[in-house]
Symmetry: C2
Subunit: 194 residues, 2 copies
């Protein structure tokens, strides 16, 4: 993970190098839970290979919120920052290779980098991107019908649809697997709105 940042931000190389030793590389099978909903997040997670999802559990039904693939990093921000119980579960979809960087070291890294304007800009842009991402997801739910959300996904992130089992996609667009099947067959029959 830190190597990934190092490639993107070589100016800060000495900092990354110093913390490389603390991250743990692990290979895990599919359906491995990396963080349980309700537990406090202890690590920043980086995906080297494989595929991970964040999921909510409501009255026994599992709903997928987000997907992560190679070269993406994630954590439960609220849990990480505030030591609050995570609202979602983090789980592998495929057998994956991940890096874990414990929270203490992330905090130490940030404390060291707090004087570096380059790092400041990096953090702000990362945070801004995430905020914009979630805001757009939120806006999409207010604005779009589930069918439209599926079509958007098909248009903007076809790799997700190709790679991820369909029942995860269904809850992600806000519907049941049955209804997603209906939508797909409707599209296949050429009866979509487009």
């Amino acid at each position: 993970m830190l190597l990934h940042f190092k490639n993107r931000f070589p100016q800060l190389a000495p900092y990354w190098d110093k913390y490389v030793q603390f991250q743990k590389r692990t290979a895990v099978p599919a359906k491995t839970v990396l963080l349980h909903e309700g537990k406090v997040s202890g690590n920043y997670i980086f995906v080297e290979k494989g595929c991970i999802r964040a999921a909510l559990n409501t009255n026994g039904t599992d709903k997928t919120m987000q997907f992560f693939f190679e070269n993406e990093g994630l954590t439960s921000l609220e849990s990480f920052i505030k030591n609050a119980p995570s609202v979602f579960t983090i789980e592998t979809i495929e057998p994956s290779v991940i890096y874990l960087l414990p929270k203490v070291h992330v905090k130490a890294l940030i404390a060291e980098l707090i004087h570096e304007p380059e790092f400041f800009k990096l953090m702000l842009s990362v945070f801004a991107e995430r905020q914009i991402h979630y805001m757009n997801e939120f806006a999409s739910f207010i604005r779009d019908t589930p069918e439209q959300r599926y079509l958007n996904l098909l248009a903007n992130s076809p790799h997700i649809i190709k790679r991820v089992p369909q029942h995860y996609i269904a809850s992600y667009v806000g519907i049941t697997t049955v209804h997603l099947s209906r939508i797909k067959s409707k599209i296949a029959r050429g009866n979509s709105h487009f």
Copy 2:
């Protein structure tokens, strides 16, 4: 607006003072558009008095995304940072008194403050809060039924329901005004799920 920050972060007082002169205080009537969807945001907006909403327009139907009240600040982040067209409109609900701080000065302020660790922490926490907010809204749409969303609003933000016209609330929870009326009368009859 800057006075607001000055009260909360007196350590940075000299910076706030310097920029106070650039902000413009304005009183505007209800239903005044402060930023049109599709336009680039030019100001950071701070609400001294009144009430503002962010809204999306889809095929002629107006949908409310968020409400802002006294002592809250807002802008279209994507538009502000990337000079991208704003995805939403910003409009007053009530007659309001607002402060506008032009983008150039906000950027200059950030550029000056970039070396202040206190400011760094402030910015990160502001950004983190916003991200958590939008993420929770997003999660709520995946997890909850519209009726549940209305009940959540009633429990967590009753001031919004008391203060804002109901048709804005309806689109905010993701339904039509007709259906919101149904839900309300159902609750009044004591038939809600709780």
